[in-house]
């Protein structure tokens, strides 16, 4: 519990627990063989700092790492920052790791210098596997011209497995470097021992003359050091460093340095042909898509430079044509591949030729001048000349796109050659002059629009009223006929005296539809007379009078009326009403 409390306090007040910052440099051994590596550790206690290793001249630093830790011993906390470097000696003899400055922020501290003895045959780790791995470097040519491509190959030979292998690229000072993506692997036998060989290649292009040194390539890896006691399981996994027993031993291997004699290009003999800048082996070819055309039309001349070397650096060939022919060059298209023999490929230059005058047009040969390192001399090749027959066209000049992208497989066709429209100036379009512009075209205001939208709705709402009004204001005969029909309909829903009353009123309304005058009290004789006068039907008048009498009897009689009789009276009334209203 007390310790936990102390830890918490220390975490809360870490700075107060640290003491004075100290630095220390240590190595894992002081005597090594030339092909071995040593580990240098610089430890910064109770502080942080940056180690300056630029003073280490006798060794190459092939890898570095750092880590930090905090330890608490008897309540005293110590923070440690450790920088670890893997050093490979550059020469034999007594070498020195000088005092290394460490910038702690508060000032510079220095480590103690260390002396390392590098002797042949001395190896601090007598690893049986180290002889089974080695690194070779080779170059395709020890003499080269500026601009000439040479191939640097680093070959890793291994007869045992290794882990965490990292290849340190050499310093290619004075060269431009292009690393090949694909690496070769194959098996070989040396002195009866089988090796797996992995080759990594670089295409180097010298940039300056003189003797150039290519530093050593380094290979750092972990090898498995076998324990003396081996189990049966170990033999099963013996080829896998992850599973095999034993401990890992970090090793570093170096290839020898190489020197290359870089020379300037020799002087050229006086010639009219410009140097293309190409160094290697090249050829030139040309193709013309048609040899007869009209003025204003275009023909496409394609010049192809192919070969091995710095093909991408080829300048555009000079195509010389008479003044009465215009030349529009396209963007060149390069297709190349880099492999163990250098860069091989071709570069296509397309030219659109537009003759402006009828006649015969002769295209002279196009010459390519390059330097061939195999013969240590400049070489020249030319295309054949072409003769074009030009006839008079329609007078229109072909439009040509000057920056069209073309592929070597599909040279630009005249049909596809179009001109990009470019904006020369920007301005607005002018004003309108039609005086109609002074006429008001304003849309309706919101209130007007909404009111106008509501008018049809209101009108539609008035339709029932209109309908009713129309019905009311219709012809009296129809009005009374409607009334009679309505009374009959109501009588059908009623019983007894009420039904008789409704039938009586319906009968009178039907008579009124004939006379156009409604009289609520008609005598039987008056009814008879009106019906006879308006219809001329005496029978109908008699039936109506009899029915009226029956209805009144039923209405005012004390005995009442049976439902069946009511129904019969209603039907009889309905029949007479229909005849009167017809």
């Amino acid at each position: 519990m007390n310790k936990l409390f102390i830890v918490l306090i220390c975490l809360l007040f870490p700075l107060q627990a640290w003491g004075e910052t100290t630095v220390q440099a240590t190595v894992d051994r002081t005597v090594i063989s030339p092909d071995a590596s040593l580990s240098l550790s610089v430890t910064v206690k109770d502080g942080s700092g940056e180690v300056d290793t630029s003073d280490i001249k006798d060794f190459d630093i092939v890898s570095q790492s750092s880590g930090s830790s905090i330890s608490i011993i008897n309540g005293s906390m110590t923070r440690t920052k450790e920088y670890t470097y893997t050093l490979v000696p550059r020469s034999k003899g007594t070498l020195a790791i000088p005092a290394l400055p460490v910038d702690t922020g508060d000032g510079l501290l220095h480590t103690e210098p260390i002396r390392i003895t590098v002797t042949q045959g001395q190896s601090s780790t007598a690893d049986s596997g180290s002889a089974s791995i080695f690194l070779k470097a080779s170059i395709s040519s020890k003499k080269a011209y500026i601009g000439q491509q040479i191939i640097y190959t680093a070959s890793v030979y291994q007869s045992v497995n290794m882990a965490d292998a990292r290849l340190g690229e050499p310093e290619f000072t004075g060269f431009s470097v292009d690393k090949l993506d694909d690496q070769k692997s194959f098996d070989t036998v040396i002195n009866g021992q089988s090796f797996r060989v992995t080759q990594i290649m670089y295409v180097l292009t010298p940039l300056q003359s003189g003797t150039q040194t290519i530093g050593p390539a380094t290979l750092s890896c972990d090898l498995m050091r076998q324990d003396r006691r081996r189990s049966r399981l170990d033999s099963f996994f013996s080829n896998d460093p992850f599973f095999s027993s034993g401990r890992r031993v970090h090793k570093t291997f170096r290839s020898p340095s190489l020197t290359v004699d870089i020379r300037d290009l020799p002087d050229r003999a006086p010639t009219d042909q410009p140097f293309s800048g190409l160094i290697g082996t090249f050829s030139i070819a040309s193709k013309l898509d048609k040899t007869s055309l009209k003025t204003g039309e275009s023909a496409t001349l394609t010049i192809t430079i192919s070969g091995t070397g710095n093909i991408a650096d080829a300048d555009r060939p000079v195509v010389t044509v008479p003044d009465d022919c215009k030349v529009y060059p396209d963007e060149p298209v390069t297709s190349s591949q880099t492999h163990s023999s250098g860069t091989t490929g071709q570069k296509n230059f397309a030219f659109a030729l537009v003759p402006t005058k009828a006649g015969t047009l002769v295209l002279p040969p196009v010459t390519l001048n390059w330097f061939d390192p195999r013969t240590d001399s400049f070489a020249t090749a030319s295309t054949p000349s072409f003769t074009l027959t030009i006839t008079q066209g329609t007078g229109q000049t072909a439009s040509v796109r000057t920056h069209a992208k073309t592929s070597p497989a599909t040279p630009p066709s005249p049909k596809n050659i179009k001109q990009d429209v470019t904006v020369l100036h920007r301005d607005i379009l002018p004003v309108y002059e039609d005086v109609d512009a002074v006429n008001n075209r304003a849309p309706l205001a919101a209130s007007s629009f909404l009111a106008a939208m509501c008018i049809p709705l209101l009108l539609c709402g008035c339709v029932p009223l209109i309908k009713k009004r129309l019905r009311r204001s219709g012809h009296p005969s129809r009005r009374y006929a409607h009334k009679a029909a309505r009374l009959i309909a109501e009588a059908r829903k009623s019983q007894g005296n009420e039904a008789c009353t409704l039938c009586s009123r319906a009968l009178i309304a039907s008579v009124a539809s004939r006379t156009h005058t409604l009289s609520e009290s008609l005598t039987y004789d008056e009814m008879h007379e009106l019906i006879v006068r308006t219809t001329g039907k005496n029978d109908l008048a008699e039936q109506a009078r009899a029915l009226m009498l029956t209805l009144d009897t039923a209405r005012y009689g004390r005995s009442g009326i049976a439902p069946d009789q009511t129904k019969a009276l209603i039907e009889q009334t309905s029949k007479i009403v229909r005849e009167l209203c017809a």
Partner: protein
């Protein structure tokens, strides 16, 4: 006899009104022609002085607004130019000249304009990009009348062609009326405005002492949220709000 007399009187009044309108239109036409001539001769401020009174007299016409936009743009007043071009759009939304000139003016605008219409708005109210606002209104009114007439007739008699006419009118009504209402909503309830000054500070309050929140430049379109006598509260995008002096703003 009485009807004949009344008809004659109404005809006379209409003829006299038309003559009066013609007499009144003359100075307006003259102003317009003077403006066009001034523009042709490169006197753009004179063109503005000729066109502007016509617009201020209440004439609303897309061609007139377009001409004002041209004159202001040539006179170097970008904000006013975009304002008048924007005002012309509802009158002639498909006019290629207007679109060309407005695009050119917009290319000179400094502020990055956030998008105004959403996809839903553009789909639902697509008529506004095709037809003039007035045409949309008349179509809405016409379809409205036809729709209710058809419904009214259908209560009296059931005719197949009346049913077809009513259905067509209803479809047109449903297509056009929302766009008309949307445009009215923007002109009355949620108007937009254009910054007409070259530089317009947007402040936290309605005074010169209020904190300057951000600055807008000529031609930028903003949403109007509230208007007072001298200041207008505007929204630029969804997150920037503030008050701007009325003189720096042209409400569409």
């Amino acid at each position: 006899m009485r009807i004949t007399t009344l008809f004659s009187q109404i005809t006379l009044i209409l003829v006299l009104t038309a003559c009066a309108a013609t007499v009144q239109a003359k100075p307006v036409t003259t102003h317009f022609i003077q403006g066009v001539e001034a523009f042709k001769q490169g006197h753009f401020q004179q063109a503005i002085d000729a066109f502007l009174p016509i617009a201020e007299s209440g004439v609303e016409n897309g061609n007139l607004f377009y001409n004002l936009g041209d004159a202001y743009l040539k006179a170097g007043q970008l904000g006013q130019a975009i304002y008048w071009y924007e005002r012309a759009i509802p009158f002639m939304p498909r006019n290629a000249d207007l679109k060309f000139n407005l695009d050119y003016a917009r290319s000179l605008q400094i502020d990055d304009q956030p998008g105004q219409d959403t996809i839903l708005t553009r789909v639902l109210f697509f008529w506004k990009d095709i037809l003039a606002a007035r045409t949309i209104q008349y179509l809405a009114l016409g379809s409205n009348v036809l729709l209710w007439l058809g419904l009214g007739f259908l209560t009296f008699c059931s005719s197949s062609w009346i049913k077809a006419m009513t259905t067509g009118a209803m479809l047109l009504f449903l297509l056009v009326t929302p766009t008309a209402l949307f445009q009215l909503y923007h002109t009355t309830l949620a108007p937009q405005a254009i910054i007409v000054a070259d530089t317009a500070p947007i402040r936290s309050g309605r005074s010169q002492d209020a904190t300057e929140l951000f600055v807008l430049h000529a031609g930028t379109r903003v949403d109007v949220q509230e208007q007072t006598e001298n200041y207008t509260k505007i929204a630029f995008g969804k997150e920037m709000f503030g008050w701007i002096e009325q003189k720096n703003l042209g409400i569409l």
